[in-house]
Symmetry: C2
Subunit: 269 residues, 2 copies
């Protein structure tokens, strides 16, 4: 394969690494029953997320970030399912950003190349679409950073404090308002540099990896990749009925797809 080829600028060999963040303590959920281990349609939420990347042909490796409370159970689930792409299960930190930082540290120590594509995903978004994962991988051919996001159907209000009350500061155009979802995707060297800069800032408490790039590398544009309504985040017990509903829709869709395949095979014979 030596020499320059037409598609050389696309760096097709860069590994695509999924980072599944499952280190949350779910204080808004149920402290004794971590949400990433709760089952939806008989499958633990963390397994839904790992399997989304197992199924994606672009993703080469997965690392799972856990906390001490869930480590044993996640290890057991991964062993039992034998997910071939899962390379490491590492300990995260107290906040989301600490868990991402731990993953960056571990990946650096493991020697992944600077141009590797990282897809950082919240384990509690079990229903991420394959098209969104594909979209992240493709966007990184053109951009250093990308995030899955879903157009807001609600008008959003930016507020500020007025005495003890919140008041509206502005009402941004709905066409430019997106709900951040995950994966959030970055070239490894770019997200590592953003986190290095951020770690020097004592006021650094991001709830979102995209924000680290937006705030600390303001010249790096972050591309929007189409998300979906179903790529919901499970935050509280109130989200579970909707999650069960979505898993049912997915089950129906898969059954339909399988049936179409069977009919197609029958026709071909």
């Amino acid at each position: 394969m030596g020499g320059m080829t037409q598609r050389d600028d696309r760096e097709p060999e860069a590994p695509v690494v999924a980072v599944v963040l499952a280190a949350g303590f779910g204080t808004r959920f149920d402290p004794d029953n971590p949400k990433q281990l709760v089952s939806v349609d008989d499958k633990p939420i963390v397994c839904w997320s790992i399997e989304a990347f197992e199924q994606n042909p672009h993703v080469t490796d997965t690392i799972v970030v856990v906390n001490p409370q869930v480590r044993d159970e996640v290890e057991r689930l991964v062993d039992e399912a034998g997910y071939p792409k899962v390379r490491m299960i590492i300990d995260g930190g107290a906040e989301r950003a600490d868990s991402t930082a731990a993953a960056l540290q571990a990946l650096g120590a493991a020697g992944i190349p600077p141009r590797a594509k990282l897809l950082i995903h919240d384990a509690v978004r079990p229903f991420v679409e394959q098209s969104s994962i594909d979209g992240c991988v493709t966007a990184l051919d053109e951009f250093e950073a990308a995030t899955v996001a879903f157009a807001s159907t609600d008008t959003m209000l930016l507020t500020e404090d007025l005495g003890d009350r919140k008041v509206v500061r502005s009402v941004p155009d709905r066409a430019n308002m997106f709900r951040a979802q995950t994966p959030q995707a970055f070239r490894f060297e770019t997200i590592r540099r953003a986190y290095e800069l951020a770690s020097r800032d004592p006021d650094f408490h991001p709830t979102d990896d995209t924000r680290v790039v937006v705030d600390y590398l303001p010249d790096v544009p972050v591309a929007i990749v189409a998300g979906s309504r179903t790529n919901m985040k499970i935050t509280t017990r109130d989200d579970l009925p909707q999650a069960e509903q979505i898993s049912l829709e997915i089950r129906k869709r898969l059954a339909r797809e399988r049936m179409h395949q069977v009919f197609a095979q029958v026709r071909e014979q």
Copy 2:
């Protein structure tokens, strides 16, 4: 009651008028089956909304804004239920703002006082909480404008165009990001003035009444009133399972409350 009283500045006599906007054509729903007439737990969505204001002790009058497609059916439903607060059913316009403008016109013609409190509500938010309606009425004692809104659980991204792609412009603090809900509440003279100014602007296409005040009366602060997760907007058929789920929760809660009342009465006897 003559003379100044301690609470005179609260203008307790101002009528509180609910404006229920049911003039949408629901192009994202089902053009042949307008969403405001679809039943949830056997009750048309528009009736859920009208009844929320019927039940609220502060609300004195309701007007319903319709389109020609739904007028007959809404009239029939209102007649059948005999809602005592419904004073008028008027025709709206092509866009949401046209419907609000039609309501302001009709209320002006009917001679409601400038300091009347208006609560403008989307009919397709059937599960508005009584506490949110109360909150609007109270907020207008202190502010000229208020809106029900619900803290965003998602990180929101403000985007801009870069070529044919959306990229992130900023990631506002989640603590200052609210999803606008309704009712949106205004003193009559204030919302009328904002609409007068807006009507002179040919680029005026707001999806939200609050925005009309924010954009055209920038010195008027709009207070945030606590909304709820359940105060959802029914936009597409995909929203119906969640709506049914919420109506079930409401039914259970009402049953519990009724049982508590019965036990309390038994104990008192």
